[in-house]
Amino acid sequence: MMRRLALALMLALAALPARAAVSPDEILADPTLEARARGITKQLRCLVCQNQSIDDSNAPLARDLRILVRERLKAGDGDSAVIAFVVARYGDFVLLRPPVKATTWLLWFGPALLFLGAAIFLWLRARRRMTAPVAPAPLDADEQKKLDALMGGESPRRRGSP
């Protein structure tokens, strides 16, 4: 009985979301609003640690921003309005997923462009090889003599024949 209980407890603990830094006092009473808040804060970068979202980060600034996001939601802002509020202060860099705009075109489409360029290059090269196979230059007299010597003066035989 005791062991079963311990196992159940361990499993329950293992199932907890391990990474979120949200402390209980930050959580909103309204579960749908809280879910929206979590969704938003997962998209926002913590500028103190730079590779964590503010949902994951324990930095005091991340906590302040989590609370701020929840306040904006409670005040009735839509998700995109809340994100715009934070971006207006911290710039596009707070977005973990960079927006598609003129300055980020190279970032978003660069890899596809590189792939396309390489594909075109390879295709052109393959086509050139196929349409115009380069015929080997005929042997000159000197080379022919050497070859004949190597072949023992015999006419070439097929390799591997008995």
């Binding site: 005091p60 302040d64 921003l65 202060r89 911290y90 710039g91 860099f93």
Partner: protein, 184 residues
Amino acid sequence: MRLRFIIPAVLFLFLGAGLVYALVAIQSGKKDPSAVPSALIDKPAPEFSLPAPEGFPQGLSTADFKGKVTILNVFASWCPPCHAEHPLLLELAKEAKAGGFQLVGLNWKDKDEKLAAWFKEAGNPFSHIGADRSGRVGIDFGVYGAPETYIIDRDGRIRYRYAGPLTSERLRDEIRPLVAKLKR
């Protein structure tokens, strides 16, 4: 035929030169890859009005920026780099009157009594200090750590932001020239 070998060699040379340049720039402190550009450059400073911390005469509000070139320093007593740059701020404060600018402080997420104790010993370089106890005004400025230094022009627009402790090189190369330009 020879060209086939030259093209990759030249490309590689360019790549190598670029990498060496970046490495040198980072090592010498000219370039900081983790620096975040301010979203507020050339935009009006956010509206705020903050009381002075206990024991200091002048609070800070947006209205204080009108008509003057302002250097705004975001600082806190709990932040070691702020202590490190403090002598430079005192130096800057001495130039303020003749230099035609004001040096003001945003005391970010600090305790009034700790600040008072520090400045009693080290001296106060600021003509105005706003006590941003909750850090909300800091967030409006896009502050993500202390210290940060802003330059605000006479129309109340943010023209410059540097995140990190000031050095005498930065004062000489960036802060003083920009202040001199804005004052004209």
